[in-house]
Symmetry: none
Subunit: 75 residues, 2 copies
C-alpha cells in the first residue's frame, strides 16, 4: 500500500504506518538494517524529509533505533 497524496493523513504518518506494518509482519527481523533513507525516498516517492519524519515516529515508538552513518535498525 503506497502513500496516497489524496489522503488527508500526513505523508510521513502514512509512510510510518507502512513501515510499522512491514516490521511487525517481519519483513526485517530484530537487529536487521532497514533500507537507507535514500532508498526509502525513491521507493515511496517522497522527499527525504518525509522519510526522516516517518523514521522519527518509529524511533519515538521505540520500534527502531538509528545510528549515524550506519542506518536504522529494528529493535
Amino acid at each position: 500500500m503506497p502513500v496516497n497524496q489524496m489522503d488527508p493523513t500526513p505523508l510521513y504518518e502514512q509512510l510510518a504506518a507502512i513501515l510499522r506494518d512491514q516490521i511487525r509482519r517481519g519483513d526485517w527481523s530484530s537487529g536487521e538494517l532497514l533500507p537507507s533513507e535514500s532508498y526509502l525516498q525513491q521507493e515511496h516517492g517522497v522527499s527525504r524529509s518525509t522519510v526522516r519524519a516517518a523514521l522519527k515516529l518509529l524511533r519515538d515508538e521505540g520500534l527502531v533505533i538509528t545510528i549515524t552513518a550506519r542506518g536504522t535498525f529494528v529493535k
Copy 2:
C-alpha cells in the same frame, strides 16, 4: 485588467478569469509552473485565500494541477 473591488463579481472569480485568459493566451505553456500563491497575491493585491480560491476554480476546470510544496502547473 486588474481585479476590481467595485465589481460585484467575487474577487476570486475575477482573478480566475484573468489567469484563465493568460493561460489560454499562452503566458505559460503546458507543463509550466505558474507563479507561487505568494507572488500572485502581491501581484494582484489580494489575499492568499483569494488566490487559492481562484486556483481551485482552474483546477476544477482541469486547466491546471497543483502539487504540494511544488506549485501549480498548466495542464
